[in-house]
C-alpha cells in the first residue's frame, strides 16, 4: 500500500502533505499545552490524495479524555489552512508508547516543569511487580534525590513526585 501510494503522489500532493505536517506542528495537547501532536509522536501518517487529506493518529492512554479533542483539533487545523476534506482515523496497532515522544518534546516537558519519561517503556508490560522508576530528575533543580508520592496524578499520563533537594513537588510523565 505504501509503495502504491508513493507511486501516485504528485508534487501537488506532496506539497499538501507538507502543509498538513506544518499545521499539525501547531496542534497542542490540551492537557500538556507545550507539546504538539508531532512532539508526542501521535501522528502515524499523513496522506494527500485526490479525495482530500487523511491523517492517522494513535491514541495515548486507553481512557485519555483528550483523544477526541485532539482528533477534532487536528481536523480544524487542517481545514484552517485550506486542506479539505480531512479524514482523521485512529490506529491502535502498534500501540503508542512514551518512547515516541521526540527529544525536542522531552526538552519542552522539562522546561514546562514536568519530568519527561525514560525512553525504555517498550518492555514494561512484562516487568516484575517490584520494579519502580528510579532516577527521575527534578525538572527544577536536576537533583536525582527524588521520591514518588503517587503513581497517579492530575491526568492519566502523569505521576506525582517530590524533590528531596529543593523540596518542590513535581509531575512525572509516566513511561508507558
Amino acid at each position: 500500500m505504501v509503495a502504491a501510494n508513493a507511486m501516485v503522489s504528485t508534487p501537488e500532493q506532496l506539497a499538501r502533505e507538507a502543509a498538513a505536517w506544518a499545521a499539525l506542528a501547531t496542534v497542542l495537547d490540551p492537557e500538556v499545552p507545550v507539546l504538539s501532536v508531532c512532539d508526542l509522536g501521535l501522528v502515524r501518517g499523513v496522506h494527500a490524495s485526490a479525495h482530500g487529506v487523511d491523517v492517522v493518529l494513535t491514541p495515548t492512554y486507553s481512557g485519555c479524555p483528550a483523544t477526541e479533542v485532539i482528533a477534532q483539533a487536528v481536523e480544524q487545523a487542517l481545514l484552517a489552512v485550506g486542506l479539505a476534506p480531512v479524514t482523521v482515523t485512529q490506529r491502535r496497532e502498534p500501540a503508542w508508547t512514551s518512547d515516541w515522544i521526540s527529544a525536542e518534546g522531552r526538552d519542552k516537558l522539562r522546561q514546562y516543569g514536568i519530568a519527561p519519561p525514560s525512553g525504555a517503556a517498550a518492555v514494561q508490560g512484562a516487568q516484575r511487580i517490584g520494579i519502580r522508576p528510579r532516577n527521575v530528575a527534578c525538572p527544577r533543580c536536576d537533583s536525582l534525590n527524588t521520591e514518588r508520592l503517587s503513581a497517579f496524578g492530575s491526568t492519566a499520563c502523569k505521576a506525582l513526585h517530590r524533590c528531596l533537594a529543593c523540596l518542590e513537588p513535581f509531575e512525572h510523565f509516566k513511561p508507558i
Binding site: Y61, G63, R92, E93, Q124, G125, I129, L149, F152, S154
Partner: protein
C-alpha cells in the same frame, strides 16, 4: 441492525469470538463502574485520584473492546451497532463480566457488606493481576485490533497491579486491625476467583483459532504474581472452594441489575440522547 426488544433493548446474535470479547469488555466496564463509586470518597486525596485514574483506564479499555465487539457483530450481521448501544441497551443476561466485579465495593447492600477499603484494594489487585495475564496472552492474538488494545492495556494494568499490590502489603503487614480486615476481604473475594480460570467452548475456540488465551491457561502466571505480593503481606493463599460463579455465562448475582439501572438510566429514559 440488531433485533430490537421491548424497552428499547437490543438482542445480539452471539458468536464465540463476540462472547469472548464481550467478557473482557464487560469485566473492564463493570469494574470501572465500581471503582468510580469512590470518586470524591477516597480515604485520602491521592487515593481518590488513583482510584478514578484506574477507573478511567478501565473505561477506556472497555470502550475499545466494545467498539471492536460492535465491529465483529456488524461484520456478521450488518447494521450499525456501536459501543454506546452495547453498553446502554443490552439486558442483564447479555452482559458477560466476571461475577466478582459486580459485587458491592464502596456501598453496602442488604445482602453484602461494602465500604471496607480492604475490599477495594484486594479486588483491584486480584483483577489487575488477572488482566495483566490476559493482555499479555492477547499480545500475540491473530486479531490485530485486540493486539493493539492489549499492547497498551498491559502497561496500564501493570501500574494498577503495582499500586494495589503496595496497598495489599501495607494493610496485610500493617496493624492487627488492618490485617484482620484484609483477610476478611480475601475470604469474601476468593471464591469468585475460580471463574477467572474456568473454561468452556468459547475459551476453547478462542485458544484454538489464536484469538486469545483460554482462561484456564492464565492461572499459573496469575497465582505466582499473587503469591509474590501475598508473601510480604503475610497473607495465606486460601483453599479453593467448589463455588463457581457464572457472570461470564450471563447469569449474574443480584447486584448486577442495580448497576445496570444506574449505568443505563439516561439512555433508557432518553433513547439516543446526546450532549
Amino acid at each position: 441492525m440488531a433485533a430490537a426488544l421491548a424497552g428499547g433493548s437490543i438482542a445480539l446474535e452471539l458468536t464465540h469470538p463476540l462472547r469472548y470479547v464481550l467478557r473482557l469488555a464487560d469485566t473492564a466496564l463493570i469494574h470501572a463502574q465500581r471503582l468510580a463509586e469512590w470518586c470524591g470518597h477516597g480515604p485520602v486525596l491521592e487515593e481518590d485520584i488513583a482510584l478514578t485514574n484506574m477507573a478511567l483506564d478501565l473505561l477506556g479499555q472497555a470502550r475499545a473492546l466494545l467498539t471492536h465487539a460492535a465491529h465483529l457483530h456488524n461484520g456478521v450481521q450488518g447494521g450499525g451497532l456501536d459501543e454506546d448501544q452495547l453498553a446502554y441497551l443490552r439486558n442483564e443476561a447479555d452482559f458477560f463480566n466476571l461475577t466478582l466485579v459486580e459485587q458491592p465495593l464502596r456501598k453496602s447492600s442488604a445482602h453484602a457488606p461494602g465500604g471496607d477499603f480492604a475490599d477495594t484494594v484486594l479486588r483491584n489487585f486480584l483483577l489487575a493481576t488477572w488482566f495483566k495475564a490476559v493482555w499479555m496472552g492477547l499480545s500475540s492474538s491473530t486479531d490485530v485490533e485486540l493486539r493493539g488494545i492489549a499492547a497498551k492495556a498491559v502497561k496500564e494494568a501493570r501500574y494498577h497491579q503495582q499500586h494495589a499490590g503496595d496497598w495489599v502489603v501495607r494493610l496485610g503487614d500493617g496493624t492487627p486491625e488492618s490485617a484482620r480486615r484484609l483477610q476478611a476481604a480475601l475470604a469474601r473475594a476468593w471464591p469468585y476467583t475460580a471463574e477467572m480460570f474456568a473454561g468452556d467452548a468459547v475459551d476453547e475456540a478462542a485458544s484454538s483459532t489464536g484469538l486469545g488465551p483460554a482462561r484456564a491457561s492464565l492461572r499459573g502466571a496469575w497465582l505466582s504474581e499473587v503469591q509474590e505480593v501475598f508473601a510480604p503481606a503475610l497473607l495465606p493463599v486460601p483453599a479453593d472452594t467448589p463455588f463457581l460463579s457464572t457472570g461470564t455465562q450471563g447469569r449474574h448475582s443480584e447486584h448486577m441489575g442495580f448497576i445496570l439501572a444506574e449505568l443505563q438510566s439516561l439512555q433508557r429514559q432518553f433513547p439516543g440522547g446526546r450532549w
